[in-house]
Assembly symmetry: D2
Homo-oligomer: 397 residues x 4
């Protein structure tokens, strides 16, 4: 398992959590592939997972975990201490990340710059070399890659994105205007035929050109933007209004959060990408246009304890208006980490089974699911259950 | 359509609303059978429905509608005035109700008593005669009966409930301890082979003995306890926690409401029946026992503007605890009225199709669905959609 | 009583409400001068008040009241009908308003333009003539003027605002860049020595030049921006955190509303003026700077049923972090109308007593009180109580 | 400082926190006497405080602090470790508590019984001896005693409570029906002329007989029931409704909490005492009777993270109904600990100054303030500020 953005809050939680479960120090709560759903499927055991990654900032996983404890109170200190040796050891697998055209805010937050004066092609080659070295060192069948880097500003559409040929030409011409870090990461995975999970909304990763390369090299990919908090609740709740033919007049959502994520999203360019994926699902589920709004504001004192207030105004029988509100108080990294572990296992399974391209049955994990037909969480879940059942039957025979 | 509890807030809203739609003065918002789901099915047109009912209190539907306007602000005055003539006319179909062993609170609230010194058998015969007279007067194919009377205290189990023979013997012996008003109402419908919708949680209506009579006379029934507010949201939301393997530690729900309903539920005997149906669904959906609580308190100033606060405490990855709250502010009669119209149309359709007994595909309408396998709203909805699709295909051919 | 913005939701509610109370059709709920506080003071009786005003749009108070009923459900229809004759009669006192440099949004919403090609001086004269004619027609001792027009974009500071001489020169030179409608309204009142209540945050009304004129002509004024909803709660609640030495880390406030007010505030220029007055009070009450935010979003379906969610994050003993949230659901016109009536009565009383200039004891009514020392609602209230007690003692003697 | 209920969550937080501040490891956040209010007054320095107490359960303060960390996440582990030596040392001052007629739930929760077969008189003598030994060991001017034991069931009124003579006769006659543990604790303090802070709602402590003894021995006392959460907010917010003449129709409050406190309050006898003190303040502040409700439910998973939802339904101008809700999420021990330290310092000051009897100026600290004229938090605060100012002036001279 290879994490782009390795020392971020989410990646650190994934690694710490997986090792805690592997060593019997924590229950696999939140990992759906560990419930009945995963029974009878040849999923990679949690304790068999090996971790590496790319990261702009220096540090190690133990240090990052202690920072998270200090800020959030999540990741209990005794657990960090018990796993400190594992974390230090695994941190040797972390290599310097790439920073290409990522926008001023991310450059500031990561404290990073693309250091050396490498060309895009050199950078692309370096990333692939890192991945190959990791695979060889640990003698792995495959490396599932996961993008967990901060949300980038939207990458403007370009003809260079349309075909693999055009994209590779742009890389060779060192045209950094049409490429972002996430493009290079996804390109590296695709080039090596490794499964790829795109867990953020950055639109630079799964460009048509790169999808073409995944198809060509026979690797599956899944994305995009993990569905963890307010959007998860929305996609669980909106179908209720349809089932009761209650007409939603307005759905206002306000998210407040601190943390590096919040700081990045406070930049309006980066926020725009996020909001676009959060805002599309209501008309699709409900079947009509409506007044809706998604706000994201940076509240430093909250750190990763994200809070969201949603207000739903709706009309029922005889035009009577009523309302529903909810408040969600969750810790994003805690909510997302088990999803990452699930996705890695599903993609690994798909790879074993020779499946390639966009994994539609993983739609329930994402705010902006690839090629999916619905945002309704329950319908998405049914698709995953059907997929698991079908394969389970296959393995049983 | 025959309404037991004819002048209550819900029944009045049903009648006023149906007439408003019939006369083109309101949209059929909230009536799911009027959406795509009902397309292509021989459902009774809203403007073909004729109304009658039993009621303990004196009055008429126009008067009751004006009271609701004064208390709640729902049911717009101009609409009431525009339909006053219809309402007065229909009120001629309302006959005196039966009050048997209903508990002190209901007796106080309805201001009623079983007036005459009639025996149970005389009372049962009278109810049936009223229904038959209504059918003949309006030359109806069938009369769909709906129980909308106040929640009764739980009727203790008795051998007299087990078989039709035993039950009829108890009626003949005038043993009022084993019978409540709702039993007589359901018995009347079953005796005449009329479809029956049990919209309240009273356990006296669908006794095994009475179900036997419905089967015997070939009539469908549906129930019980309309799912309109907090429980609706619960059944829509709880599956999300399962889908994410988030362990719910506690689910506390507090309902506050005024109105006749609230006053009846303030009586702890009546409340118990209600809470029992509201509280069962979480362990079924989630698959494990948990700490949960449902409170109902009477707040006169709210009238029918029910407000509910639910607090959900749950545990995720690495045992981290998070929470979700929701506040539901809805008007129960407004939410329930279109469900009643839907249920009447589905039961009428079932009757046309020769279906009898408990209608499992209507589970999504009820807090305590009869013979249903799940409380998950979305799974229940899929069953209804499958049913509608299957019949639509049949009628298309 | 003269209302600038006469047919707006608030002014209409004021007039309808005052007449309803005068005719014994409603209780004076919300009017503090009608409670013990006003006892023993020579306050103008509600039924002695006569109404007129300036308004850009055509119509009358009965029509406006019916629109409010249709949109909001406030202002009961039977009450409007019972007072229709009064309202029609009073509407004869309404004269065309002035629209000067009000910004594109207000021009669109009022559907208005400054019609005739009048100069600022001609317009100023016309407004004064209207006020004088009203006074004479009804043989009034004085006319208390109230500004209830929509929030204007901030008027940039100009040397013409500093002194009366400079200001009048600008009027004479017809320099409309340094003047807004609210300036002309306040100027008209000051010129005639009439008390003036500035109920909105527009900064063009109480310019230093105009305050000079009020002082010169011996008239009192009060302002600015009525404190009715979220800010009221803030100013009531923030002192609690100080009293317990709980350090507020972040105070996020989100307001959603529809209505003409909401539409005007959706324009970011107009919103800015509003937010500035809402955001200043926390550091003043708490005594330290903090992270705070006030959002205002336009949600058409809510009309005047404003909803606000505030999230307060605070730190207590041993640095432990806790939170408080509140949701306020109020109807702004309903909340503000009695404040307007109170303010008019207090200003009329001040005028009787020969008080002039900014009325500091009325701070509790305003988001941005003039020359006041505190935003703490309870301290402001004490000042009003002290004022009333002092004068009551005087009149008793 | 002597703590009855020494190893409870609150007492442990007090001791740990005071030592953390004394050693410069924490800021005195929440301690009002450490703000400007306490400036210039001869208050006992935090680092001069010495701790002892009575406790039914075995253990020590370090152990209790680690338990709180495990349950609640409050009381940071590194802080506990840094102070472990202090805590162990101080724990030597803790003596076995008395358990008299405390009700079945407290007996179960404390795991305790009044062990030895001592008479009430022997027990009273023993408690006094413990206090005197502590005073002598540490050479203290005085020992301020604080009752922090669990809320007891209401003690029925008895003639034995009316006079000191009658009360001492009952002790001598060993009549345990008219005495609870809290009575013996308060009696011990009064007997020795030590100041006494009654921080819980138990009605057995400040009986008229015992107040008589405090007066006689010249010692001050303060109480009762620390105002920390929902009630604090209520008393801060209710005055706003009065200031705006908004008529509160209903005020519903629901508290959910886990912890030993929650378990004790889940017992309906103990809850009754608590609710009585929480429910009285609204009519007093608002000036009229209203529909109100205070619920307390035990939710084990919350531990000491208490959550309260309050719903306020109110009526404004023209009878229009609106609402406000708040959600309070606080940790009771964290909120209460600085109040205990404040109260001890105020009582110590009062003792220095020769003040005796009920301390009315400390009303703002209590849900049920002794002999206080108002529940309005802001008015209570003003009284404390006036007191501090008056004494500061005195010491300045």
């Amino acid at each position: 398992m290879w994490l782009f953005g390795a020392y971020g809050g989410l990646a650190t939680t994934v690694v710490l959590g997986a090792r805690a479960i592997a060593r019997g120090l924590a229950q696999p709560q939140g990992i759906v592939t560990e419930t009945d759903l995963g029974r009878g499927l040849p999923l990679a055991p949690i304790d068999s997972l090996v971790f590496g990654g790319h990261e702009m900032r220096s540090g190690d996983w133990a240090k990052s975990a202690r920072e998270i404890h200090a800020d959030n109170g999540t990741l209990p200190l005794p657990l960090i201490e018990a796993l400190a040796k594992d974390l230090k050891q695994l941190s040797k697998n972390v290599r310097p990340g790439a920073l290409v055209n990522a926008g001023a805010t991310i450059e500031r937050v990561t404290g990073g710059r693309r250091g050396a004066q490498r060309t895009l092609r050199q950078e692309a080659d370096r990333l692939q070399a890192d991945l190959r070295a990791f695979q060889q060192k640990h003698k792995l069948d495959r490396v599932v890659c996961v993008n967990l880097t901060s949300t980038e500003p939207d990458l403007p559409a370009s003809p260079a994105h349309r075909t693999l040929t055009a994209f590779e030409k742009a890389i060779d011409k060192n045209d950094s205007r049409v490429v972002r870090s996430s493009s290079l990461y996804a390109y590296a995975a695709a080039k090596l035929g490794f499964p790829f999970v795109h867990f953020t909304p950055s639109n630079g990763a799964l460009l048509p050109a790169i999808r073409e390369l995944f198809e060509q090299n026979g690797a599956p990919y899944a994305g995009m933007d993990g569905k963890t908090g307010e959007t998860l609740v929305k996609s669980a709740l909106a179908p209720m209004f349809k089932i009761r033919d209650l007409r939603v007049l307005s759905w206002q959502g306000y998210n407040i959060l601190g943390d590096r994520d919040g700081a990045v999203l406070a930049d309006s360019d980066n926020k725009q990408a996020k909001i676009a994926t959060k805002d599309a699902l209501l008309p699709q589920i409900l079947g009509y246009p409506l007044h809706s709004h998604v706000g994201i504001d940076y509240v430093p004192s909250l750190h990763d304890h994200k809070t969201a207030w949603d207000f739903v105004h709706f009309e029922g029988f005889l035009g009577h208006r009523m309302s529903m509100q909810f408040v969600w108080q969750g810790c994003d990294a805690i909510l997302a980490a088990p999803l990452v572990l699930d996705l890695v296992r599903w993609c690994d399974l798909a790879s074993q089974l020779g499946e390639k391209g966009g994994m539609k049955h993983l739609a329930c994990y994402f705010k902006k699911p690839i090629e999916a037909s619905t945002h309704d969480l329950h319908a998405q879940w049914r698709e995953l259950v059907d997929y698991a059942n079908a394969h389970r039957d296959k393995f049983r025979r």
